[in-house]
Amino acid sequence: LGLALYAGSLCVVSGATFLYHDYCVIGAGPAGLQAAYFLQQAGRDYVVFERSHAPGSFFALYPRHRKLISINKQYTGKSNSEFNLRHDWNSLLSHDRRLLFRHYSRDFFPNADTMVRYLEDFASLLKLQVQYNVAIIHVTLEKNEQAWNGHYFLLTDQDRKNYKCSSLLVAAGMWVPNVVNFPGSEYVEGYETVSINPEDFAGQTVLILGRGNSAFETAENILGVTNFIHMVSRSRVRLSWATHYVGDLRAINNGLLDTYQLKSLDGLLEGDLEDLAIVKDKKGKLHITLRFYLENRNISAGIDSITLPQDELDNFATRAPYDRVIRCLGWKFDFSIYNRSLRMMPGKGNMKKYPQIKPSYESRGTRGLFILGTASHSVDFRKSAGGFIHGFRYTTRAVHRLLENRHHGVPWPSTVYPITQLTNSIIKRVNEASGLYQMFSVLADIVLLRENATAFEYLEEYPIGILAELEMQTGRKARNGLFVIIMEYGRNFSGADKDVFYYNRAVGEAQHAWQSNFLHPVIYYYKHLPTEREMKLRPPDWPLPRPDAIHHIVEDFLTDWTAPNAHILPLRRFLENCLSTDLRNFFAESCFLFAFTHQKLPPFCQQGYLRMQGLVGSQELRHHAVQAGLLQDYTHTDFSGDRPPNSHDGSQEQLMRDHAIPVRPLQHLVNAKDE
């Protein structure tokens, strides 16, 4: 048998030998290891290729100043492990409780070396199949009708060894530095290599190109020793606490903003780097000028002949010469290893650093090729957290689930509950789910209703970009309507120029919940699964098309949405009205009464009391219910005669809407809706 297996995994195609695996993963960074974990758990045939000798080689070098800006919260006051992942941005998902980042570092912003150590442990403790020192240098396709996707992926490593896979998961990250070419760019130092010793910058004047976290991190490091630092980039600074996007400038790095706005030592400027030019004078100082001036002069002439902006405009901002210019412009995806037949195309506009993918994370050019990890961020760039560990650990799981369904007939995991559990299921998830919270507006929980709305099926963390394909992608049926549960920030609340501290920014009342600004749960109700077309025509900036009904759970200061009246009650009313049923809980005594006075019972009584699981309730509770007017106390009734005509017991009526028997009907309660 061993021989047969060996033969099976060795394919001989036109003389070259291929090692075969169902799944090949390129890169053993966080995303690659995360994917490997799920493949391993599912018992799939997979291999991970890592060009370095250890996992997480990017973190071995970056960030240069070694401080991770992903939070590692030790304490939340809660023991709920799922909830705590909301504030743990470094751990990968696994069943092993040892592999939580807080066991590795006590720092709120941990050191990057810890991440490397963590990833090494993750790979070894979980015994993931990683082949180190294998750099894939070429990927091409081999057509084959038998293959899962109509073709195999052929991979070649640096030693010309070949591998063949049915599905290719690219988790190679973004590691090719972004470089801008302009006259004088040869004088620019790159973030990758620039010294991180502040001593080297003492008494210098520094210009930094770029305005991301790496630029500010670099500035922060040398802020105290330089004469001054100027930073230039195309767009205005985007503060992550204003944009609610973790990829924008984080407060931990923004010390330079302080010195700029307070004492005008250091400064920020906006301008397109493409129009820039740098000239070096005889003393080695670097002067800023514009490409425009260079184009109008005789190249051969010396530095003195170059027009500088201050010659014409004597208060030009960057007229002072610089000692050093540092480029901190971020990274892009390495497109070079993919054969043209894979049609691996860069995105458009500000997405050009990313490969083009669908909302299912599958390449637009090649079926069966999925992009994982930070390179898959084009799906939610500048919106959610898909480019970061705390986000892509969930999108990677989603891709794995899609693959399980597509290739192995394992439908998307789901749990079936009776309809009485609907409110509870949603409340439980919005309060603890981390995937929904991190990947807000990208991953959604889906409630698929069963016929007659007596039961429902709960699917977790499905990518809403492919909602229209839900039946095909999950193997579940959505014939009787569905709820989509996502988290959202308020519209027009986030933005680089928004004041996020204005008075009355928070909504407190449930009836104004739709105006909530901070991250809060939103539930969309559709009678039918939205079609591809409806998804395409959805309003701009909307994650989903117009629903048949929508509910916002009002934002909460503690992100604790368990308040009975402000959170749960309005949600129940919403669900009741979508399903056209009564989802209240009743004590057994009420169910007993209904059983004798109604031909039909409310779902809670049907699914509980009638199955001999009625809620008897303690003496105190029933007493409270009586006091609240929601339960009638019959113990002291005299049955001598009529009810006195004036004994208005509205509460009892509320409970017992009944038309057939001549006790004041409350038809107007029902009619109110039609009017």
Binding site: S79, N80, E82, R236, G267, G271, D275, L276, I288, A317, T415, K428, G495, D497, A513, W514, P539, P540, A549, H552, P564, R573, E576, N577, S580, R584, F586, A588, E589, F592, L593, A595, T597, H598, Q599, P602, M612, Q613, G614, V616, G617, S618, L621, H624, A625, A628, L630, Y634, T637, F639, H648, G650, E653, R657, H659, A660, P665, L666, Q667, L669
Partner: protein
């Protein structure tokens, strides 16, 4: 009800609209004419107008003019214009010249003067409208003073058309106006006759009438064939208002008996539309003629109160008792048609009249309630009894010292500490969980000191991983973990008593193998095992011979399923035959010792599938004549049979109990559940009776409740003693459809108690792109002031905000040419 009122109001409005579409000149309200010449030259032939003449210099306020002015609009509806003509100072003509003409109003048709009205006849709007219409409708409305006049008119009309006879105490009243307005619409159809003579009123009504209130009769003269007899009359039983008269005339105009050949649920007639019930006389081919006569007779009796239809049963497939002869359909939507067996036409009339009475009371109450509701109709008020009760109780600290808190860390080690570890999985935010937690704390107190039992709890909100690992997907869940065995999930009532009994029973293996015959006998007496001796449960003993291993396995498996709920023992020693013979059964068999083993029943165990055995055991454990309580009702409901239930104020008497027991054990046993309810022990029974009866009936009370089919409730005649014979004969009548149900269970679905916040609707104005058809719906633009900044009107998207709005110092490409052009304006420090 509201809807019906609307319907007939709208049809009236339509009639009035027709009437008012008579061409009219000028706008609504009072017209002004500069001079008499001008006024007379403008009069159109056939057009009525009411004019009054005032000197241009008014000699002082004339109050009656105000009344005329305010009636202008009302008269406009009838095509009558009201004109104020100014008299020039020196005018001495007929209308302006004379002093007393100025104190009168003049009614013209064309330029012909019809009537002068003295001002004291026009004291208010009603009098103006009544008098003007009275004058105009001179031919349509006959005024009579004597009975002879009335009889003359009646005789002339016989066989031709109907007559509407109205008595008003005085002309110019609101009632007079209502009659005249009705005459305006119906005057061409019916002959209207009016009187103010009290003597005439007395002559036309039977009892002593109140002469101070108006009175209207509809006289069916068109049908009258006998010249000697007066026409049949139907009085309007309500105050004389235009709406009531209109309604009455509509009803009189409807066919006396409607013949229908479709499902009564679908039938709709003018009666139902006007909010009156419709009585169906169920007819058959053989008796059609007689039925038709009955229907007509009833119809005359009910004229104005209800409609009558003749329904041919041969044409419609009705799923009702064959004996039913009358059906009643009420105008309330969603009320099913009632089918009845009535013996006398009087019963039909009484039935309808009672319904109407009840409804009127209800209507009054409803109005009050609507007002209440408006204040109380708050979506944000908790209407879930469990949630509200739990939140009112949240400040009380629960006595949970006896309940061990489990975590992910100590869960598995704690399970090893006791023989039986009971674990409540709950969520600290979930109301039902918290309600159960309260009962759980009571159980903990009760079971304190019970050896081997440890009560624990896991808060799944703290330990979701543990809960999902234990496969707990719903809250609350209670599991009993026994060493080395699969945990048992509790599936009984969430009450302290039930739970503690479950836990205690679970300690003994189920079924419990018994070693000797003596032990088996002790077991049946409830003395063995000692752990359960304090427990009064029915004991069940399976007796098996060595041959019947298949049955034994099924029994053992059934024991696993029923563990905790049933006390089960098992005896399969060699002398099993001797034991079974003692109870005259042959193995495999079940021995059943109810309450302390006073009597032991033997039942042959013929079925061998686990499911069947479970089913059989459950069935056998049910009592023959149980007292129904809140916890045990579901077991009996599962039989899906009608209930014959005796409501009793306390314990039932020996006699009743015996009679009922006889009945329950008798031949009818299969068909229904005979049971009783102790109102003292189960006070919620009062709630049931209140629902069934508007007045509290006397107790004890025997009811037949069709819980699962149709929902009818029948009341055993209270005057008869409750004996087996009486009940059986009553049941026979019931089955034959000879009894009328006292009440019917509501068929209503459980709809949402209150609406939700409609966020979609709230969002639409703020988020225009959300509207259903972005192309079709015009987005309302705010009015633009000239020179207003249109560019800022559209809220730019998040992306463009950063890049476009913040542009002054942004684009280097734009900067360079400007620099070249020596444009020094607007440069900022933030720009290169």
């Amino acid at each position: 009800m509201e809807a019906q009122k609307d319907r007939w109001v709208s049809s009236l409005v339509f009639l009035l609209f027709c009437a008012s579409s008579i061409p009219r000149s000028g706008s609504v309200g009072l017209q002004q004419e500069p001079s008499p010449q001008h006024y007379f030259s403008g009069l159109e032939a056939g057009k009525a107008s009411l004019a009054f003449f005032t000197p241009s210099v008014s000699p002082g306020a004339q109050p009656f003019l105000e009344q005329i002015e305010s009636s202008a609009e009302a008269l406009q509806d009838y095509g009558i214009s009201v004109v104020k003509v100014n008299c020039p100072k020196e005018d001495g003509s007929r209308y302006c010249g004379k002093e007393n003409a100025l104190r009168k109003a003049f009614l013209f048709r064309g330029n012909r003067l019809i009537r002068e009205f003295p001002t004291d006849a026009l004291f208010d709007v009603n009098s103006v409208v009544a008098n003007v219409l009275f004058a105009l409708l001179f031919n349509e409305v006959k005024y009579v003073e004597t009975l002879a006049d009335l009889e003359n008119i009646e005789n002339v009309l016989k066989g031709k058309s109907n007559m509407v006879f109205a008595y008003v105490p005085a002309t110019g009243t609101a009632e007079h106006r209502a009659v005249m307005e009705a005459a305006f619409v119906y005057g061409t159809i019916h002959q209207f006759v009016l009187t103010t003579e009290a003597a005439l009123l007395k002559a036309t009504s039977h009892d002593d009438p109140d002469v101070s209130s108006a009175w209207l009769l509809f006289c069916h003269c068109q049908r009258a064939t006998d010249p000697a007899q007066p026409c049949r009359r139907t009085a309007l039983g309500q105050p004389l208002t235009l709406l009531n008269i209109h309604r009455h005339l509509k009803l009189m105009g409807a066919p006396l008996v409607t013949e229908v050949a479709e499902d009564p649920e679908k039938v709709s007639t003018v009666h139902l539309q006007l909010g009156l019930p419709l009585v169906f006389i169920l007819s058959q081919k053989q008796t059609y003629e007689a039925d038709r006569r009955t229907a007509e007779f009833v119809a005359w009796q009910l004229l104005g109160k209800a409609g009558v239809a003749l329904l041919s049963r041969d044409l419609v497939d009705l799923n009702v008792l064959h004996r039913s002869n009358v059906a009643l359909k009420t105008p309330d939507e969603g009320m099913p048609v009632q089918y009845l067996v009535l013996e006398d036409t009087d019963e039909v009339v009484t039935l309808v009249e009672d319904k109407t009475k009840v409804k009127q009371i209800q209507e009054d109450e409803e109005e009050e309630e609507e007002e209440d509701e408006k204040e109380n109709n708050n979506q944000d008020i908790q209407d879930d009894q469990v949630v509200e009760a739990v939140s009112r109780d949240k400040k009380r600290e629960l006595p949970l010292e006896q309940v061990l808190v489990l975590t992910e860390e100590n869960f598995h080690s704690s399970l090893l500490e006791a023989a039986w570890t009971v674990v409540l999985f709950y969520a600290s935010w979930e109301a039902v969980s918290l309600a159960v937690l309260r009962s759980y704390s009571e159980v903990a107190a009760q079971l304190q000191g019970t050896p081997g039992v440890l009560l624990c709890r896991v808060n799944c909100w703290d330990w979701p991983g543990l809960c999902s690992q234990e496969n707990v997907t719903q809250f609350p869940t209670i599991r009993i973990y026994k060493e080395g065995q699969q945990p048992v999930t509790y599936d009984g009532m969430w009450g302290a008593e039930e739970l503690s009994s479950f836990i205690l029973l679970s300690r003994v293996s189920c079924p419990l193998p018994l070693a000797t015959v003596d032990e088996a006998e002790e077991y049946l007496r409830g003395e063995f095992p000692s752990e359960l001796s304090s427990h009064h449960h029915t004991s069940l003993l399976g007796v098996f011979s060595t041959a019947s291993s298949e049955a034994r396995e099924a029994f053992e498996e059934a024991g696993n399923i029923l563990s905790g709920h049933v006390r089960m023992g098992m005896y399969f020693e060699d002398d099993a035959l001797a034991l079974s013979r003692k109870y005259s059964v042959s193995p495999p068999a079940l021995l059943l010792a109810r309450s302390g083993g006073r009597s032991v029943e033997g039942i042959a165990l013929s079925k061998h599938s686990v499911q069947d055995v479970v089913q059989m055991i459950r069935y056998e454990l049910l009592d023959v004549f149980p007292e129904i309580t809140v916890p045990n009702l579901p077991q009996y409901l599962q039989l899906r049979k009608p209930f014959l239930i005796l409501f009793s104020a306390g314990d039932i008497s020996q006699m009743e109990s015996q009679e009922m027991l006889k009945l329950a054990k008798g031949r009818a046993q299969q068909a229904f559940v005979a049971c009783w309810l102790n109102l003292k022990k189960t006070p919620v029974g009062h709630g049931i009776l209140r629902k069934y009866f508007s007045t509290m009936p006397s107790l004890p009370l025997l009811l037949w409740v069709n819980l699962h089919a149709g929902g009818q409730v029948f009341k055993f005649p209270p005057e008869q003693p409750i004996t087996e014979v009486n009940i059986l004969s009553w049941l026979e009548k019931l089955q034959a459809g000879l009894e009328i149900p006292s009440s019917t269970l509501s068929e209503e679905d459980w709809k949402p108690p209150l609406p939700a916040y409609d966020f979609l609707q709230m969002m639409e104005p703020a988020v225009p792109e959300l509207s259903p058809h972005p192309g079709d719906t015009p987005v309302p633009h705010p009015p633009q002031s000239p020179g207003g900044d249109t560019a800022t009107r559209e809220e730019p998207s998040q992306e463009s905000t950063a890049e476009e709005v913040g542009s002054p110092g942004r684009d280097l490409r734009g900067t360079a040419p400007r620099l070249a052009a020596r444009d020094k304006q607007g440069k900022r420090h933030g720009e290169l």
